[in-house]
């Protein structure tokens, strides 16, 4: 494998074929200009990269627990500051934390909020696959409306998840950090640019990256890029960034594809195409339109 690509995260990890996060990790870390220390929340990325006595990490790495990647990297970063002050360390080091949506939107939200508010010099990357995939597909607050998960199963009385997704970008933006962006593993050139900006930021930065899950979204392993592309082409997952408070849309589809085209690629939404669930399908299209309009509006201001 390409030596540059595997500089920090080697081949031989045990992530599923067709999983998005290896490309996310490599693309983000590929933009580093300095040494790095990585913290990782419990989750798929962690368990598939650190099975003792092996480790896929070629940079210093710490996994602490599920909810505390941001607090952990806070400690590492302050240790760096302390030892630098004492002249025990001279080189520049950047600090990067990775977490899934469960470890970021849900159980790790407080820890992330605290670290952002304190202004540590770190990048937090959330790879969002819309659920607790490491424990076998349970709903998180990032799971989309209408999705089947093992804790929002479909049935006579259920069309899947009844709540809409939590808007994490808005929450993170409320901390007024210098740089945050929403990206998608299917748009690596865009992710690369954003990673570069995020890593060059002095202070906290945040990337929310769409990461299709072949196993639990139920699509063939060969299709993760296509599924990811459709998410953005349908405006289900707009690409945008907020730099010093200024919103910028990074991709505007020339022709908007109906969200159903994205949904029908995945088994987790297949029940929505039954006649009785038509209103829910319409509701999803409405939600997508509204959210995209809201973001587009902010970007025009």
């Amino acid at each position: 494998m390409n030596k540059e690509l595997t500089k920090y995260y080697s081949s031989g990890h045990s992530a599923c074929a067709g999983c998005g996060f290896p490309a996310i990790v490599r693309t983000v870390l590929g933009e580093l200009k300095t040494d790095v220390v990585i913290a990782n929340a419990t989750g798929c990325l962690e368990v598939t990269s650190t099975l003792y006595p092996y480790s896929a990490w070629k940079a210093p790495y710490i996994h602490n627990a599920f909810e505390n990647a941001a607090a952990t990297i806070s400690g590492v970063e302050k240790a760096y500051e302390a030892l630098k002050k004492k002249g025990k360390i001279k080189k520049k080091i950047k600090f990067v934390a990775f977490g899934g949506d469960g470890g970021t939107y849900d159980i790790g939200l407080q820890s992330l909020s605290g670290a952002l508010e304190r202004g540590h010099n770190f990048l937090y990357v959330c790879y969002d696959n819309g659920g607790y995939m490491n424990t076998g597909n349970q709903r998180s607050s990032a799971t989309p409306y209408g999705a089947f998960t093992e804790t929002t199963p479909t049935g006579k009385e259920s069309f899947g998840k009844i709540e809409t997704r939590k808007n994490l970008m808005e929450i993170v933006n409320a901390h007024r950090i210098p740089y945050l962006a929403q990206a998608n593993v299917a748009y690596l050139a865009d992710l690369k640019k954003k990673a570069k900006k995020a890593l060059e930021t002095d202070g906290p930065s945040f990337l929310l990256v769409f990461s299709p899950c072949t196993n639990n979204w139920k699509f063939p392993t060969s299709q993760y890029v296509n599924v990811g592309k459709l998410a953005t082409e349908t405006n289900f997952w707009p690409l945008y960034e907020i730099e010093n408070g200024v919103h910028k849309l990074n991709f505007e589809p020339k022709k908007i594809t109906p969200v159903a085209e994205f949904l029908k690629t995945q088994g987790r939404f297949k029940h929505l195409f039954k006649e009785e669930n038509k209103p829910h399908l319409e509701e999803i299209q409405k939600l997508v339109n509204e959210e995209f309009a809201r973001i587009a509006n902010l970007c025009e201001e």
Binding site: I62, A79, A82
Partner: protein, 393 residues
């Protein structure tokens, strides 16, 4: 090591137990200190924040948003290679519970001052040992203090011990009784304290980017067990290391701290076993009863984890009656200290048989829950068998 405890430079100062802890942390140059407020621990972090405000320390203080994050950041800082300390009490310690095991599993020598306090519900901010007993199996060294002087001294001893054996340590004072009581105590010259503890040299720190390591790996059925055994083996070295370090500390301070303190037990027929601030009161009770001709004594435990079973069994071997006073319950079974004393006297451990007791009376009492005071008269009554029912209320 310089014998300088007669040196006039060893200042006498009036400090609360909390401030005494902060003073020791300042002298041993903590690199990183994640802090979060909770009563009755705040005397420690407020004093320390004052040092920062006056430019007296170089410590990076991280004012985190919860105790869970305090311990999580401490784990990050310690694994990065920084000398790291924090402080907590009660609910805060309970909130840290998950990550306490991660700190010890990663073998990180984190110093944590605990101002021990009751646990809710009902909520109560006053002293007892429920919080620290709740994490007695978390793989941390637990060192109890009787008063402010001990807090200061054991923070210094404890930091050196933790870094030597690569295990985290709790230095425990009684909430309010010790943390908020002002006492006259003697502090070392900073240079002497610093030289005693030495510089922290982490093994494979995260900040050594030339030699990258992975902390917090997944270990399955084929390796997890061995990691756990290694941790136990490390804990088994603590008793001897503590004694060595305490002996060196005696040389620079003139103050002696054994793993437990024997007070008038040589010819004692009845011995009370306890720890913490009540020991001072118990010593007065012992003196008073001895003036009346009663052969009584006191065994004050300093080191609770690891528990020095064998040495305690030896120490208690001639007592006809042993009375164990716990400041915590273990609801549904015998209280923690009592269980350990029973283990000491009747245990048939892996090292050797140290069962030296048969047919003696070993009584259990619980006292002081939620900050309830314990008085000299009550301790005398316990010695004299005048209190029944297992509670000193």
């Amino acid at each position: 090591m310089v014998l300088n405890f007669m040196n006039k430079k060893n200042k006498k100062v009036a400090l609360t137990g909390g401030a005494a802890a902060a003073e020791a942390l300042k002298q041993i140059e903590i690199d990183v200190m994640p802090i979060y407020p909770i009563t009755p621990q705040t005397t420690i972090i407020e004093t320390y924040a004052g040092f920062e405000a006056n430019g007296e320390v170089d410590t990076e203080i991280i004012k985190v948003e919860s105790e869970h994050s305090a311990m999580s950041a401490a784990i990050g800082a310690s694994s990065a290679g920084a000398r790291t300390a924090t402080a907590t009490s009660s609910q805060g310690l309970a909130l840290m519970h998950e990550v306490l095991y991660i700190a010890s599993g990663m073998r990180l020598p984190i110093m944590m001052l605990v101002s021990a306090r009751a646990l809710a519900s009902p909520i109560n901010i006053h002293g007892d040992h429920s919080d620290v007993m709740g994490c007695r199996d978390s793989g941390w060294i637990q060192l109890f203090c009787e008063n402010g002087q001990e807090v200061y001294d054991k923070t210094i001893i404890g930091m050196k011990l933790a870094e030597k054996v690569k295990l985290p340590i709790m230095v425990i004072m009684d909430g309010f009784n010790t943390s908020h009581s002002v006492e006259n105590l003697e502090i070392l010259e900073t240079k002497i304290a610093q030289e005693f503890v030495g510089e922290f040299k982490a093994i494979s720190p995260l900040l050594d980017t030339e030699n990258p390591v992975t902390y917090g790996a997944v270990a399955l059925q084929n390796s997890y067990f061995e990691f756990r055994i290694d941790q136990e083996e490390a804990m088994r070295t603590v008793e001897a290391e503590y004694e060595k370090i305490a002996k060196d500390f005696e040389k620079i301070s003139g103050r002696k701290y054994s793993i437990f303190e024997e007070y008038k037990i040589d010819d004692a027929e009845k011995i009370i076993v306890l720890t913490g601030s009540a020991a001072g009161t118990a010593k007065v009770a012992v003196d008073n009863l001895r003036n009346n001709g009663e052969k009584v004594g006191l065994l004050k435990i300093n080191l609770f984890r690891p528990f020095p079973h064998k040495k305690i069994a030896e120490s208690l071997k001639n007592a006809k009656e042993i009375i164990v006073l716990d400041r915590a319950q273990s609801i549904g079974t015998y209280p923690p200290f009592y269980s350990e004393i029973i283990n000491s006297l009747y245990g048939n451990g892996r090292d050797a048989k140290f069962c030296v007791s048969t047919g003696r009376e070993i009584k259990s009492y619980i006292y002081g829950l939620g900050g309830r005071d314990i008085f000299q008269k009550q301790i005398e009554d316990v010695f004299l068998g005048k209190i029944e029912g297992g509670y000193i209320k």
